[in-house]
């Protein structure tokens, strides 16, 4: 079976908007205000500031998405979701023919948060989508994406190795690239190597 | 010059052993040099002129190594296997006539004896693999058995075809029957069987498979099974297996030269002698080396398919064709 043909950016935005509206419905509207980079609506086409960096976050994150302009970034669409929504977004992208590119983490130590970055590319177009999600730094937990994309299995094991993020429902989180008895997570910013 | 029988036999046995030993050692050199030439490298150059002393250096190295027996191995069988793989090759060569009067023993059932002993080789490799208690070795042992079961059959069918043409199993007489020019050799005996060259090709393929040579070296497939049945053998234990491989090639090629290429008979009908036999023998050996360094290895079931689905039907057909032809003409 050949993967579904690539959606255009507009179609993708529309799909996300629909999904966001569905997700945001139970939440109170007032909370949404101000936290999304494009106030008023969850969706927008801004080439505005980069994704929040260290220290910028702190309040409860609310899902949003936007089209990214500019060649510098290297991706075309980004979305920020809550940890519990990762699998849903993964499925949404899976149904539109996306392939898993990578899963990784970023340790925002100053903000006390861990950011998970999911990259998706489309095999037959240039479209590249980034999905982010932030979790508290200590006891970080995210549901696994490996049931949607089996390829996420290894990426998540690697991310668990390097950051200590627990992927709930993951079949096997034993050390992957690190030695089998490793109990440290080298990419955490407070990790000091032996050297 | 006639020696009393027991001494004659002893002298020949010593001769055969020396011949096999020397050949096995130097075929390794030939293989290395040959492989190097096919791959545009110089091959062994450092030990002796043109690396001619390399086999001795190898032997010295292998002999100086400790003979290890894995703790869980069946010690008796593990030690017995190298002996069993070498002995049959020597036995087979005892019946091979090198020249008109140059053979250890001219047996009426020479051909039968060669095949009887030839099969032991497989048993030995299987035992070695089985006794090692190594997973790779056991897979290899299982492979070699099914491979040999598959290839004995077309080989035998081919040989029976040939026997119908020659009417004898005495190797000496088979060669004598092919005297008088290359058109009299069995491989060109198109009257008895128009497919005789195909028969020879089938023989050659089966010979490669029986001696575990590339592209049929499933038992030793180094990229899959490390070293197959020989994985656990160290030092001269491995060395003996290694030499036996060449001794078996020697037997297979001698037999090919005798059965199909007229043994010591000259291609022009005159000046027959042992030189011709050796020439044919080494030409076949060179082809074996050439084939090895040209082709990738076959897949295991591809190998069995080739035997059961192509070689056996074809050789059966040839057998029938030959009997019809012999009856008609």
């Amino acid at each position: 079976m050949i993967s579904p043909s690539a959606p255009s950016l507009d179609e993708l935005t529309a799909a996300f908007a629909q999904w966001l509206a569905f997700v945001a419905a139970p939440a109170t509207v007032s909370e949404t205000k101000g936290t999304a980079p494009d106030p008023g609506a969850g969706v927008g086409a801004t080439s505005g500031p980069a994704a929040p960096v260290a220290g910028a976050a702190g309040e409860p994150a609310v899902p949003w998405c936007r089209v990214v302009e500019g060649k510098a970034k290297g991706y075309h669409f980004e979305a920020q979701v809550l940890p519990g929504q990762v699998v849903e977004v993964g499925r949404l992208l899976f149904d539109r023919g996306f392939a898993i590119d990578a899963v990784t983490g970023v340790d925002w130590m100053a903000a006390g948060q861990m950011e998970l970055v999911y990259d998706f590319f489309h095999p037959s177009s240039a479209l590249h989508v980034v999905v982010r999600c932030r979790v508290p730094r200590e006891g970080a937990e995210v549901p696994t994406l490996s049931e949607v994309f089996p390829g996420a299995n290894w990426h998540e094991r690697e991310t668990h190795d390097f950051f200590g993020i627990v992927f709930t429902g993951h079949p096997d989180l034993s050390p992957f690239l690190l030695p089998e008895d490793a109990d440290y997570h080298p990419l955490r910013k407070d990790f000091a190597g032996a050297a | 010059m006639t020696l009393p029988e027991p001494f004659r036999l002893l002298a020949y046995l010593a001769g055969v052993m020396a011949f096999v030993g020397l050949n096995a050692a130097y075929l390794v050199w030939v293989e290395r040099k040959g492989a190097a030439r096919f791959q545009r490298r110089p091959g062994p150059t450092e030990v002796g002129p043109a690396g001619l002393l390399q086999p001795l250096a190898d032997a010295a190295k292998l002999l100086s190594k400790q003979l290890l027996v894995p703790p869980d191995a069946d010690r008796t069988l593990f030690r017995l296997a190298p002996v069993m793989v070498m002995a049959p090759a020597l036995m087979c060569l005892a019946t091979i006539p090198f020249g008109q009067a140059l053979g250890a023993r001219s047996l009426d059932l020479g051909l039968v004896m060669v095949f009887a002993f030839g099969s032991i080789n497989v048993m030995a490799i299987m035992l070695g693999g089985w006794a090692s208690r190594n997973k790779y070795a056991i897979i290899s042992a299982a492979r070699i058995v099914s491979q040999n079961v598959a290839y004995e059959i077309p080989m035998m069918l081919v040989v029976i075809t040939l026997l119908m043409v020659t009417g004898t199993t005495n190797l000496q007489e088979i060669v004598e029957g092919q005297a008088g020019g290359f058109w009299r050799w069995n491989v060109f005996d198109l009257v008895a069987n128009p497919l005789m060259p195909v028969t020879f090709v089938i023989y050659f393929i089966c010979m490669l498979a029986e001696t575990n040579r590339a592209p049929f070296d499933m038992a030793e497939a180094e990229s899959e099974l490390v070293a197959g049945a020989f994985t656990e053998y160290a030092g001269m234990g491995f060395g003996v297996f290694f030499m036996a491989e060449y001794a078996n090639i020697l037997v297979g090629c001698s037999l090919g030269a005798i059965l199909f290429l007229g043994g010591w008979q000259s291609p022009f009908g005159v000046f027959s002698g042992v030189g011709w036999f050796l020439l044919k023998l080494y030409a076949l050996v060179f082809t074996v080396v050439w084939v090895r360094w040209t082709f990738p290895r076959t897949q295991f079931y591809g190998l069995l398919n080739l035997s059961w689905k192509i070689l056996i039907p074809v050789s059966l057909g040839i057998l029938v064709l030959t009997s019809v032809m012999l009856k008609l003409f």
Partner: protein, 156 residues
């Protein structure tokens, strides 16, 4: 049946083609270089370990101990010490240590050097039985002893 026949005949032909090709190669010249007996010329830009260059006129090192190389080195394998002597305009190098066991031969130091005091040697077969010999290579002494960087034949 016909397909099988074609397969067998075509396959056999492909085998013979293969054997023809290897036989052609059999009679061609070797392509290998018999290394210990003969060796290749090193390329002009070959990146060996670095060496300090002395000014051919004054015989003094061109290095002004600016420590650019020390900062640029990704592997932290260079230690430079310098001193400003009386009556001289620039600093001059007193100590230049290269830890060759850490060096990854990336060439960042040569590239960054403002006074062209570093260049690549053409040594490629450095070997020793102990690691100590390469932990601290004293490049100042090396340059002063007049041990010209082994230039290799390739350096035209």
């Amino acid at each position: 049946m016909k397909r099988v026949f074609q397969d067998v005949v075509g396959g056999f032909k492909s085998l013979l083609t293969g054997m023809r090709i290897t036989l052609q190669q059999f009679f061609k010249k070797d392509v290998t270089v018999r290394y210990p007996h003969e060796s290749l010329k090193m390329a002009k830009r070959y990146r060996g370990h670095v060496v300090l260059v002395n000014d051919p006129e004054t015989g003094k090192s061109l290095c002004v101990a600016c420590k650019s190389c020390e900062k640029a080195c990704p592997s932290d394998c260079i230690v430079v010490e310098g001193l400003k002597r009386e009556g001289e305009k620039k600093k001059s190098v007193t100590d230049f240590q290269l830890d060759f066991t850490r060096c990854s031969l990336c060439g960042s130091c040569v590239e960054v050097c403002p006074s062209d005091a570093l260049e690549f040697s053409k040594d490629y077969n450095l070997a020793s039985t102990s690691k100590e010999q390469f932990v601290r290579i004293d490049l100042v002494r090396r340059a002063d002893e007049g041990k010209k960087p082994e230039t290799g034949e390739g350096q035209a």
